[in-house]
């Protein structure tokens, strides 16, 4: 393995982990409500920007980070309450427009609360690159990978072992049946937005020290996260993680070896190519409707 390849791989994994967190957010909301939340990218922005403001105000990371996550989660809950819930039963297109409207609204709001500039966030633990097999990795990248891994493990414990997690899973499989066995489906929906928003915010805080952040970082990240979720197969947790990592690595590799001008297009070329052959993504549910 050449050092260059190793370098691209490490970078790709870091980017991919961020996409994976976003894709998980898409999948959690999709499972609970069958809504694709196009405002998912704005949670990333809110998390990052809030962390920037809070640390600038002198708060230590240990306080600033949870507060920033909470802020995004609150916005997520509000989104569910005031935009998605009132539109229950609307068509797919209508819901897409509502969540895109919400993302435009949030971006406009962020422009007022903050500004249009790029903001740096101090890395959690220094910025001296660490050498690995001829390549280097930033300590912040290790944070990204480590936290993502921890979140994936925590989520699989949550959905596999806890009552609330199982209730959320049950709702995604069959809403009516879940209601019948006494699950508070409204609550599940509400929580799924909060949880997804928190995941987005974490991604935003993790990546801000590497890429800087601004009021509009959410646009492209949101679309890539959606692409990752679709690539893996909507609603599949494993699919979201694999989809994110595959997109991140493929994007970095092709930007490195082929053309960096088309870096942002690669994700969409891959997704089109995969969907042409696998119309439900890599791990999506197969088989059409029954008649």
């Amino acid at each position: 393995m050449s050092a260059q390849f190793m370098q691209y791989l490490l970078t790709g994994l870091t980017v991919g982990a961020i996409y994976a967190l976003l894709a998980l957010g898409f999948s959690i909301i999709f499972n609970a409500s069958h809504v694709i939340n196009f405002a998912q990218g704005e949670f990333v922005m809110i998390g990052g920007m809030a962390a920037v403001s809070l640390t600038a105000a002198g708060l230590p990371y240990l306080l600033a980070v949870p507060l920033a996550i909470a802020a995004a989660a609150l916005v997520g809950l509000a989104l569910e309450k005031f935009a998605v819930e009132p539109a229950r039963g609307a068509s797919v297109v209508t819901l897409i427009i509502i969540t895109i409207g919400a993302s435009i609204f949030l971006r406009g709001l962020a422009m007022l609360v903050w500004d249009k500039n790029l903001h740096p966030l101090k890395p959690f633990t220094g910025d001296t690159p660490i050498a690995i097999g001829g390549a280097t990795i930033l300590p912040q990248s290790l944070w990204v990978l480590g936290v993502t891994l921890a979140i994936v493990l925590a989520l699989s414990w949550f959905f596999g072992r806890t009552l609330l997690g199982k209730a959320m899973l049950a709702t995604s499989h069959n809403r009516l049946a879940a209601e019948l066995v006494g699950i508070n489906v409204r609550m599940v929906l509400f929580l799924s937005f909060g949880l997804s928003a928190a995941l987005g915010a974490i991604a935003g805080i993790l990546i801000a020290p590497i890429t800087l952040t601004s009021y509009d970082v959410g646009v492209m990240l949101g679309l890539k996260g959606f692409a990752a979720a679709i690539l893996g197969g909507l609603g599949s947790g494993m699919g979201a993680v694999v989809g994110g990592l595959v997109l991140g690595i493929a994007e970095t590799m092709s930007a490195g070896y082929l053309s960096s001008a088309y870096k942002d297009a690669i994700a969409f070329v891959i997704i089109l190519a995969v969907l042409f052959f696998m119309p439900s993504g890599l791990f999506g549910k197969r088989g059409g409707e029954r008649v």
């Binding site: 999709f30 694709i36 935009a83 009132p86 539109a87 609307a90 068509s91 797919v92 297109v93 209508t94 897409i96 427009i97 509502i98 895109i100 409207g101 919400a102 993302s103 435009i104 609204f105 949030l106 971006r107 406009g108 709001l109 422009m111 007022l112 646009v219 679309l223 959606f226 692409a227 679709i230 909507l234 001008a261 088309y262 942002d264 297009a265 969409f268 070329v269 997704i271 089109l272 969907l275 042409f276 119309p279 439900s280 993504g281 409707e289 008649v291």
Partner: protein
């Protein structure tokens, strides 16, 4: 005869024609003409897009891509290579139709959110190509475009363009109504409701979907070509993802499966940003809020909701709202 005039089809066409003829009395300066022309061009795209989304039930979040290909195709052929604008436009239209035909079959096999993703991806790829290949397109800076001319005669001035775009819009609406009220149009609405139900009476759903996808792409492309020549300039902004969303919002806002609704949606949402400039810094927020609000409170769109209201008022009238209006 009178009955015929009052029918949604003839009556609607007449009403639209009257609106186009009477509007200039309200347009006091060329700025207003400019907006009216933009409305007309967007309306042409929306009438086509509505055939795809409203009637056939297939989402596209990438139609700005076809609009952009039309605009840039005309711009590059006419301005860089000196083709006669009409030839440039026709060639571009054919090329866009061919592209839509080629990608249409694999893309339209997808359903729901997967289809949304694929069309979104297609639009973004087109956008990236246009911004990156700056040798041809001028990149993010855009490209200036020669005025539209036929032979020696050059089309200039907002007033002339107003009448051209108005006539074309009327023509586009007429074509759309013709399609909807034909066996092919019924087939589209049928497969929207039940694809398997449509297939078993002999409708090749895949083919019908590709056909309407191509038609909607052609509408968008032609509007793009005209927009490029009219404004004398093309920039990637009109190709971006956000413009695709604007177009879809216009269709849904006006009312899905309502051709006149698509025109109304285009009119309202094209003028809205002009009005919103009074909000200055709040413009973006207000626009987002309007998008959310109308979809939440009028999920069926303005025209069908109004139609329903009128219907209720008129009571006694035979049956329910005619889906073809």
């Amino acid at each position: 005869m009178l009955q015929r005039l009052a029918s949604p089809r003839t009556g609607g066409l007449l009403a639209l024609a009257a609106a186009i003829v009477l509007l200039p009395f309200l347009l006091s300066n060329s700025y207003f003409y400019d907006i009216a022309i933009l409305v007309g061009l967007n309306a042409i795209v929306c009438v086509g897009l509505n055939l795809l989304i409203g009637y056939a039930g297939q989402i596209s979040l990438g139609h700005a891509g076809f609009f952009g290909l039309g605009a840039y195709g005309s711009a590059i052929l006419a301005s860089r290579y000196g083709w006669p604008p009409l030839a440039a436009m026709l060639t571009t239209t054919l090329a866009v139709a061919a592209l839509a035909f080629l990608v249409g079959r694999p893309i339209l096999r997808l359903k729901g959110h997967y289809l949304a993703m694929a069309t979104l991806g297609l639009g973004i790829i087109i956008f990236m190509v246009i911004t990156t290949e700056d040798k041809f397109t001028g990149g993010p800076d855009g490209l200036s475009v020669v005025p539209f001319s036929i032979g020696e005669y050059t089309l200039r001035g907002e007033r002339l363009w107003y009448w051209i775009v108005g006539a074309l819009l009327l023509f586009a609406v007429w074509l759309a109504l013709n399609l909807i009220e034909s066996p092919a149009g019924r087939a589209l609405r049928a497969l929207h409701s039940s694809e398997v139900g449509a297939e078993v009476v002999g409708i090749d759903a895949a083919r019908q979907k590709v056909m309407v996808f191509v038609i909607s792409a052609v509408f968008a492309s032609v509007a793009g070509s005209l927009a490029a020549h009219y404004s004398g300039f093309v920039t990637p902004g009109k190709v971006a993802f956000f413009h695709s969303i604007e177009l879809v919002t216009m269709v849904v806002f006006g009312g899905m499966a309502s051709t006149f609704g698509a025109v109304v949606g285009a009119a309202v949402l094209t003028t809205l940003p002009q009005l919103l400039t009074v909000f200055k810094d709040y413009e973006m927020m207000v626009f987002g809020a309007v998008m959310m609000g109308t979809m939440i409170f009028l999920p069926r769109g303005v025209v069908p909701s109004l139609g329903r209201l009128l219907e209720l008022r008129r009571q006694g009238a035979a049956s329910r709202s005619d889906p073809r209006t």
